[in-house]
């Protein structure tokens, strides 16, 4: 296709592969494979979290959503940012103080039942798969656009690359790729925002007043309601976004890549600042694309608006900026996908294989090997699914992942740390209720059923909301409560005291 694009693209990809190679040389233990040996500093991990978080959905998706729908697109930015308060205030430190490698480990600190561990691993894997398919579909579309190759080839290409990353590097490689990518992403976004702002003479009021007439929506562009017309749906979406982050396994895993709770806390702080600034800049990305690329051009490339940001880069900075942005977007997706594969693989290898099947009798080496095989398995499975998912809406899949995380994982995390009476039955009931209710409600929603035939099945949706969080999150909490109260299991007060004290004080046994 285009020589500039391809060469710049290959350079960035080459750099990330080099990092993987060097990281691979330093990865020898299971600890290092899963959690980068626990040695990242606060700001490094903060950047890595930000990198993980600012995935295709944030950079490509939100820019497109704001470009096409104005304020309604910005709801995502708000939700994604405030979510960090939920993480920081409620989950980050207790998690770090209790856990080892995975979410299931953390819950296991209190409930030593295999069933709980298995269910937690199951819900984590479900979330990871949805999130992953979304990223792969986005990546496929991007590569298809850039290189003009077939969708299936694009997905395969991305899939193979990510497999290489994870199998050889583990968490260390993905952490450093995330860090570098986060920096590049911020640089690219700042450049584009600067160029957009300059076109409005660096005048905020001028920008807003011109946007009132820059799109077919007219003045309504600046007001909410262009896309989300059902009130409850917006509220439901906002609930999913703000609560989901605290339950996302691949984000939570990043707390284990630091030495202690203090560093975990500091890294969340760094991440919040970086991510916050980014989301403010999405206003410039969206407005710029709407004004300088135009609705027609955006939609013709991708009906959901996913290519708005790269197209804007091309308009503002020609081929150079375009290829830079495209390469960064690609690296973004690749790194996020690698992180997802890792958390899925660790749930499999560490929780299901290591603890349940092998009953904990497993050597470091065996666990490493299992992790690598699991990574391979997860990769292949997700590539296959993504091949069939070309027409699925990327945003739908990601918000579903958030909804499942908020409904299945979060209630259990909260009760494990804060509720004395909570028991294994409650944990299982909560996770299963949250998981199953959100899945069923999505299947019955307008995402799948559409009277005009624009979704998978033609017909009236049985459940009216596109995001079921409003219903499934309370159900998750209720399920956990009922499960606890109904069961005849005695609560282990000694165990709870231990969990609470450890979570609060950071006490650790010296080995």
């Amino acid at each position: 296709m285009n020589a500039t694009v391809i060469s710049l693209f290959l350079i960035i990809v080459g750099i990330t592969l080099a990092i993987t190679y060097f990281a691979a040389k330093r990865t020898n233990t299971a600890s290092e494979f899963y959690t980068a040996g626990g040695g990242l500093t606060g700001w490094q991990n903060g950047l890595a979290i930000a990198g993980d978080y600012l995935s295709a959905a944030s950079f490509l998706g939100i820019a497109g959503a704001i470009a096409l729908f104005g304020f309604d697109g910005f709801f995502f930015s708000i939700g994604y940012l405030v979510a960090y308060l939920v993480v920081l205030f409620i989950v980050a430190e207790p998690l770090r103080n209790l856990g080892k490698y995975t979410l299931a480990d953390m819950i296991n600190a209190r409930f030593q039942a295999k069933k709980v561990r298995g269910t937690a691993a199951l819900s984590s894997i479900t979330i990871v798969i949805f999130y992953m398919i979304a990223q792969l579909v986005g990546a496929g579309a991007l590569i298809q656009l850039l290189f003009g190759i077939e969708y299936w080839m694009a997905v395969l290409l991305v899939g193979i690359m990510m497999t290489i990353y994870v199998i050889f590097g583990g968490m260390t490689a993905t952490s450093w790729v995330q860090i570098i990518k986060a920096v590049l992403l911020m640089v690219g976004t700042v450049i584009i925002s600067f160029l957009v702002f300059s076109r409005f003479d660096f005048n905020l009021f001028q920008m807003f007043s011109e946007m009132q007439s820059a799109t077919p929506l007219g003045a309504d562009y600046l007001n909410p309601g262009a896309r989300y017309t059902v009130g409850l749906d917006t509220i439901s979406l906002m609930i999913a976004l703000v609560l989901g982050t605290a339950g996302l396994p691949h984000i939570l895993m990043r707390f284990f890549t630091v030495r202690d709770a203090k560093t975990a806390r500091s890294s969340v702080m760094w991440a919040t600042w970086i991510v916050g600034i980014f989301y403010v800049l999405t206003i410039f990305l969206g407005f710029g694309a709407a004004a300088f690329v135009g609705r027609e051009a955006i939609i013709s490339e991708n009906p959901a608006g996913n290519m708005a940001a790269p197209l804007l880069a091309q308009v503002l900075g020609g081929d150079l900026l375009f290829s830079f942005v495209a390469a960064v977007a690609f690296a973004t997706i690749l790194a996020v996908v690698a992180g997802l594969v890792l958390s899925g693989a660790s749930a499999f290898a560490h929780d299901i294989y290591g603890q349940i099947i092998k009953k904990g009798k497993i050597t470091e080496k065996e666990q490493m090997l299992a992790a690598r095989y699991a990574s391979l398995g997860v990769s292949i499975f997700s590539i296959l699914l993504a091949l069939f998912a070309q027409n699925l809406n990327v945003a739908f899949l990601v918000s579903l992942a958030f909804c499942v995380a908020a409904s299945a994982n979060l209630p259990v995390i909260i009760f494990t740390i804060y509720w004395k009476k909570f028991n294994t039955t409650g944990a299982m009931a909560g996770m299963l209720t949250g998981l199953i209710s959100s899945l069923i409600l999505v299947i019955l929603s307008p995402n799948v059923f559409s009277p005009e035939g624009t979704a998978m099945i033609t017909g009236d949706p049985i459940f009216p909301l596109t995001n079921p969080a409003l219903v499934s999150v309370p159900l998750g909490f209720i399920g956990a409560v009922i499960g606890t109260l109904v069961s005849s299991k005695q609560e282990d007060t000694k165990k709870y005291a231990e969990v609470k004290v450890k979570a609060d004080t950071g006490y650790r046994e010296t080995l």
Partner: protein, 117 residues
């Protein structure tokens, strides 16, 4: 209820009695202070956050211009950003205090608070 003995260092003479720690005065001070900070903060930010889509979905008064052409909706949205940054900063400061209190707890109970993996 099974008596689970945690992996302890050879140097430690007894299994930690966490229930005892949980009853100690310094620990109770710590949890009380934490609750007094965390609970109101969470309620406040969650309410402010959730109020926003409720207002935009069911009313339109936020759409009136506030500064120039920029409406109250945008100002509310941006204030949620500021709220997040402010709360994070406050949290970091308070957490440092809680860290000290946690150390006191461990000292009061004659425990070495090992922080390393």
């Amino acid at each position: 209820m099974t008596n689970r003995v945690q992996k302890s260092s050879q140097k430690q003479q007894k299994v930690q009695d966490f229930e005892k720690i949980a009853r100690s005065s310094k620990y109770l001070e710590l949890t009380k202070a934490k609750k007094r900070f965390l609970v109101p903060s969470v309620i406040i930010f969650f309410s402010l956050y959730l109020l926003f889509p409720i207002l935009t979905s069911y009313t339109t008064f936020l759409n009136t211009p506030a500064i120039g052409v920029i409406s109250w909706t945008w100002l509310y949205a941006l204030s949620l950003f500021i709220m997040t940054w402010v709360l994070v900063t406050i949290y970091m400061k308070r957490a440092a205090v809680f860290d000290k209190m946690a150390e006191e707890v461990l000292k009061e109970n004659g425990v070495e608070g090992g922080q390393d993996l």
